[in-house]
């Protein structure tokens, strides 16, 4: 059986946290450039110029793209034939987050308890870790730091089957209109349809790990992604101060659900759509 030492995991996670904070993925950068070419609002053009320049400075100088370097979401796919040795997997991931956020001069934005005693944990741990057991002997890690300007504007609606496609569109657009310019647009919108309430939310997060250039493989969902994107870009929200580039993409993921339900979750991501992915 293949063995993987937790030290290797910690080192990789630390590097990935820094990478994600400094380097905007190429697809998002290209999306911003395309938005700049088509943006109709003069103020919107100025905002997009600043955002594009910001991405270039962050990349060239290894600086955080945004000061909110996020709560660290970690998607793990653990091969069932892989033996992790030398310690506990989740401890290794959190040690990597602490190392990356400290060494990389990233902001520590996590409080240990949410309501009565909001004390900063000072190393951005714990991360939000989702683990899936898959065939094989590899460990796939995706780091997706999530800023809370946009997270606070995300939402979920528990629709019923009779609401159908129209209901889904209304639910998504209500959340978008309510969010308006607050989540630092141009946004990338992750939509999770189906499952249970929690599964829909998770699907909406996973949707954001897909490239903005890649449509859902099922044509009906791909069409719905485009229709929603067109509607969002007609809201006038634009790149924060009004315009035509409100969102760069809508990514939908779906899952089986109950005969009585049609949950729809929307995770809004700001233009800092940050990720890092490695297979160990």
């Amino acid at each position: 059986m293949r063995e993987l030492d937790v030290k290797v995991i910690t080192e990789n996670v630390a590097e990935m946290c820094k990478e994600a904070a400094y380097y905007l993925p190429d697809d998002v950068y290209r999306g911003l450039k395309r938005g700049r070419e088509t943006e109709k609002s003069p103020v919107g053009q100025i905002v997009l110029d600043q955002i594009i320049k910001n991405a270039e400075i962050a990349k060239a100088e290894d600086r955080p793209y945004c000061q909110d370097t996020g709560m660290t979401i970690v998607f793990l796919e653990v091969g069932q034939d892989l033996h992790i040795v030398g310690g506990n997997l989740e401890d290794a991931i959190n040690a990597g987050i602490a190392k990356g956020y400290t060494e990389g001069y990233l902001r520590k934005s996590v409080v240990g308890e949410p309501l009565f005693n909001r004390v900063n944990t000072k190393n951005n741990t714990p991360g939000v870790i989702y683990t899936q057991i898959v065939p094989g002997d590899k460990l796939s890690i995706t780091i997706a730091p999530k800023g809370f300007g946009s997270e606070n504007k995300s939402g979920i609606k528990m629709l019923v089957p009779a609401d159908g496609v129209k209901g889904v569109k209304k639910a998504v657009m209500e959340i978008i209109l309510h969010a308006s310019m607050n989540p630092c647009p141009p946004m990338v919108v992750g939509v999770g349809i189906g499952g249970t309430m929690d599964r829909a939310a998770l699907l909406s997060k996973k949707a954001l790990t897909r490239s903005i250039d890649e449509r859902n493989p099922m044509p009906e969902y791909a069409k719905l992604e485009q229709e929603l994107l067109d509607m969002i870009n007609q809201t006038g929200i634009g790149p924060q101060l009004g315009g035509t580039t409100s969102a760069l993409a809508v990514n939908i993921e779906w899952g089986p659900t109950h005969i009585a339900g049609l949950p729809v979750a929307v995770t809004i991501c700001c233009h800092a759509m940050r990720h890092s992915h490695r297979v160990l």
Binding site: I51, P64, M231, T244, C270
Partner: protein, 190 residues
């Protein structure tokens, strides 16, 4: 958009009253950072009748929690945070003499009313443009509440800090004005 208006601090009510929603500005001088935790601590201190550690008269507050500075840099990445979270505290803070606020996102009616009364201006910096904005910051000095870490109240010396007037002291709102011409959607279309 017309050329940027240059603003230097201290930022008086007279300067504030000249600005209009949509104006592009470049701020030079000293602005003071404070966000959620600092606003909570300061308004609680005021409620107890205590004096604040910082004189806010004619100051510009920046809603900010920066990343730590790399060695040799004055500050880390330092874009604006969501202003709406400060709304509950803002009227109290404007009574302390603040004439300018820099953040991002919408404000409540109560804040706008207090702005009109106090002659204050709300500016937006581009959300997420944190590495770019850092270029205009020359120094960062903690003034109060160092225990709040990135949420401490600090003086930022800035040169040509780029911002846009979103809500002027008459209550004109550029978020509404800026969206109007490009809004071709309403829910009845679905």
């Amino acid at each position: 958009m017309a050329e940027s208006i240059r603003i230097t601090t201290p930022f008086t009510e007279e300067m504030s009253r000249k600005l209009r929603a949509g104006d592009s500005v470049l701020i030079t001088g000293t602005i003071i950072s404070a966000r959620d935790a600092a606003h909570k601590v300061m308004t609680e201190a005021l409620a107890r009748g205590e004096k604040l550690p910082v004189d806010w008269t004619n100051q510009i507050v920046y809603y900010l929690g920066p990343t730590p500075a790399k060695p040799g840099d004055p500050i880390g990445s330092c874009g604006p945070t969501t202003s709406g979270r400060m709304d509950a505290y803002t009227p109290t803070m404007l009574e302390q003499g603040i004439k300018g606020m820099v953040g991002k996102g919408s404000r409540t009616k109560e804040v706008v009313e207090s702005m009109k009364k106090n002659g204050a201006t709300y500016f937006a910096a581009v959300g997420g443009a944190a590495a770019l904005i850092a270029k205009s910051v020359k120094s960062y000095t903690v003034l109060a509440y160092p225990e709040l870490g990135p949420e401490a109240v600090a003086a930022l010396e800035v040169v040509d800090f780029p911002a846009i007037v979103v809500i002027d002291c008459e209550g004109n709102n550029f978020y509404e004005i800026g969206q109007k011409d490009y809004r071709h959607f309403d829910m009845s279309q679905i």
